[in-house]
Amino acid sequence: MVARIAGVFDEKLTEAIANSKILVVGAGGIGCEILKNLVLTGFPQIEIIDLDTIDVSNLNRQFLFHKEHVGKSKAQVAKDSALSFNPNVNIVAHHDSVISNDYGVSYFKQFNIVMNALDNRVARNHVNRMCLAANVPLIETGTAGYAGQVELIKKGLTQCYECQPKAPQKTFPGCTIRNTPSEPIHCIVWAKHLFNQLFGEEDPDQDVSPDTEDPEAAGTAGKTALSSQQTESGNIERKSTRTWAAETNYNPEKLFTKLFGDDIKYLLSMENLWKKRRPPTPLSWDNLPGKGDAPKQHSGLPDQRVWSVNECAEVFAASCQALQTELKGRPEGDHLVWDKDDKSAMDFVTACANIRAYIFSIPLKSRFEVKSMAGNIIPAIATANAIVAGLAVLRAQGILKGEIESCTSVYLRPKVNHRGQLFVPERTLTAPNPKCYVCAPKPEVALVCNLKHLTLKDLTAAFKDGLNMQAPDATVEGKGLVVLSSEPGETDHNNQKTLEEIGLNDGCALLVDDFLQNYEVRVRLQQEDEENSWRLVTDTDAPMPGPKEEEPANGSNGAEEPKPGPSRTHHDSDSDMEIIDEDDNGEPMEKPPKRRRKEVSDEIVEIC
């Protein structure tokens, strides 16, 4: 039986635990700990979802996993290990993404409490919306190094995960990355873009060649440089980097000469850029610094040694070849995905970032440091995870006991505060933000853009990136006409049309919803001639995320565990708006199954 020994808890809690059903989202550092606590305490019914597999670097804290489990499903192995602590509980494991049609509002409704142990904002936003829609209490957790937090989210009672906009991920202007890097991170971002240009998914926003439209450089590009470039490598400027690289068979020397010689010479010809900056130094393959030097004495991990430029060039050559071979092994049209844990991919980025850093007189970094920055690694330790998970399960017990009002946020501090506190509970629950674009009764947001330029494709991106929707549908308010449909292909033919061309004008409102998230928001269009792209504005005046620009770093699985911190502050980022469909009783309404609107597929144009 469960809640196993009478007398450990009072009768009320014993019974509440015996009748509970808990969902744990994430089987990483905190998830393993939460699962252990739940199982030992005797929570009888638990489901756990995680899409990830086990990596060696997890083993210092994800204690349900051992070396022999590397490569296996986290959810499944966590379940098996936890059952050995108490075979009398029922655990269902899902090796899956929580962002899936399979886990809809009715799925969430079967749980008394949902516990988040996630490592990324997208999934957190999603579970937040699902729990609001299902009206299930959510315990949100996170750690970063020695610090951590536990927070209750309950519809109508507390603020939701998206009530306070979070700081946007740091982005860098394209011209800093392409023309005038001044910090190691600029070179690392450039190197990751280069990886994608050569081997990964080509993205026009990740161009790595000199940006001739840099406003600061205006009209200074010297003809000499241009013509010499043309004589040396033909019309490379008009070809994609990948096509050109493939034509040279990824010849390391030729690639090197273009990227670190010719392109730099070209940058030098943009004289305005170097009036107040130290100009870059082009490199030539045959004469690299550090050539012939004996390796420096080094104590520490091999990865912590900073390579000479010559070594970087050697690693560059070797990793280019390895990655090319890997790419060739893939089916036609397929591409590689950058991963900090892939040796060649990590070598390539370290080498390229450092060569570029040398050129621009920026300090070189070790592979160890570059990995932290490029992979956006947040250090993680067993103890902080154990503490946060312990607090989370104690909070879950409090909720089951009927004391939800006392389940305030608790912060684990890296050092004690002035009152000697190491775990700092908030005094009261934080009320919802009435202007929240997610949990407000009638969420609303303004989309500022130039209707003459913004295309429907851009609009989709705005809803996905700005409002964190997965599959947005949009209709014009009052007309019911479909502007965007999440049905594949349904509105694709309009993708390149501007909002003006399809008849949308300043001040008109769209009802945008995501069926999966059970979320709807009213979006007012606001014309602004100067706006090059789009931006979202809420009544809170807090900045909302804009279009994706240069991302500093995002490893394959993003940040390990999220950044906690005493209360989310206003300048912190990632926002979205969200409306939960509600009837007058405040109960969420189930939406009709998704097959609606099929009949209106072709009426999209000329409205408003």
Partner: protein
């Protein structure tokens, strides 16, 4: 004092400990790898503490316990499988403890602490004790002190818990983050900003033995003033340690009602003895002290594990000298007693 051994980490170690090396640095990891730890008492708290220490990558851990595994242990003791009830708790925990980190050498000791010679305790760099009586704790603490070895102890009763640390004369380094205005470059196009610079400073902390901390004189004005803003956790710990000393056991879930009455009576006696304000130690704090609740064991075991890491790696300021977890408020705090 643990010597920083100069042998480099193997590739396997670097890979497994990657995420924590990024937090506390390579030197800390090397110091941890040279540390020998004794864990006394394999209750749920002992298991949590052992897990955290073993995962951190110390040289060796000895699990000492002369008691047998009981059903109530299974509430929080995840190292011992349920089918080993009746077997020695340390031995029952061995297989899973080893599986946590095969790079750590793990042994067991099944003799009772009272029959172990002083020399046993001082073969370790640090001792973490749980489940002992005050007299036993003080004996081991004093043995360790004499040989300049670190000592920690703690307990969890129900959802409540505490930790005490005596790191004797402890030297450590601390990273201090300083904000400095910097110029970004020779050009004015990019604004000058504040950069954070971290510097490492050497520090020293002097600790007092357990008997000093447990016999804090509450008639002194500096402690009286603590009552005004304070939290009654220190007294809850005193009551529970007294209960254990007097009844030779912990409060028993099967006798929840009767034991609660005893605890409340002991509370009233203590209030009188130390002239504490009536109502300062609420009933609520003494009603959820049965068994060891897993969440609380995780919390206190997490704190103790982190203190062992700090003590052994000689990095970051360790807590001086008592930590309490008050589950009613969900607050965890550090106070200095006995100095």
């Amino acid at each position: 004092m643990v010597e920083n051994n100069e042998i480099e980490l193997s590739e396997a170690e670097a890979e497994q400990y990657d995420r924590q090396i990024r937090l506390w640095g390579l030197d800390s990891q090397k110091r941890l790898r040279a540390s020998k730890v004794l864990i006394i008492g394999l209750s749920g708290l002992g298991a949590e503490t052992a897990k955290n220490i073993i995962l951190s990558g110390v040289k060796s851990v000895c699990l000492q316990d002369n008691e047998v595994l009981k059903e109530i242990d299974l509430y929080s003791q995840f190292l011992a499988p349920p089918d080993k009830i009746g077997e020695n708790r340390a031995e029952a925990s061995l297989v899973r403890a080893k599986a946590l980190n095969p790079m750590v050498d793990i042994t067991t000791e099944t003799k009772a602490v009272d029959s172990l010679p002083d020399s046993f305790f001082t073969t370790f760099d640090i001792v973490c004790a749980t489940g002992l009586k005050q007299e036993q704790l003080e004996r081991i603490n004093n043995i360790c002190r004499d040989k300049n070895k670190k000592f920690l102890c703690g307990d969890v009763w129900g959802m409540f818990g505490y930790m005490f640390a005596d790191l004797v004369d402890h030297q450590y380094s601390e990273e201090i983050v300083q904000h400095r205005a910097v110029k970004r470059g020779p050009d004015d196009t990019e604004k000058s900003g504040a950069a954070t610079v971290s510097i490492t400073v050497k520090r020293r902390a002097i600790y007092v033995p357990l008997q000093n901390a447990l016999s804090a004189d509450w008639s002194k004005p500096e402690l009286r003033s603590r009552l005004r803003r304070g939290d009654p956790s220190y007294f809850v710990m005193k009551i529970l340690l007294r209960f254990r000393d007097e009844y030779n056991r912990n409060p028993d879930p099967a006798k929840r009602k009767a034991d609660t009455e005893i605890l409340l009576r002991m509370r009233d006696e203590l209030v009188k003895e130390l002239s504490l304000p009536v109502g300062f130690i609420s009933d609520a704090l003494l009603t959820d002290v049965f068994g060891i609740v897993s969440g609380a064991a995780a919390v206190v075991g997490g704190v103790i594990g982190q203190e062992v890491v700090k003590a052994m790696s000689q990095r970051e300021p360790p807590h001086n000298n008592m930590f309490f977890f008050n589950p009613v408020k969900c607050v965890g705090f550090v106070e200095l007693y006995g100095q």
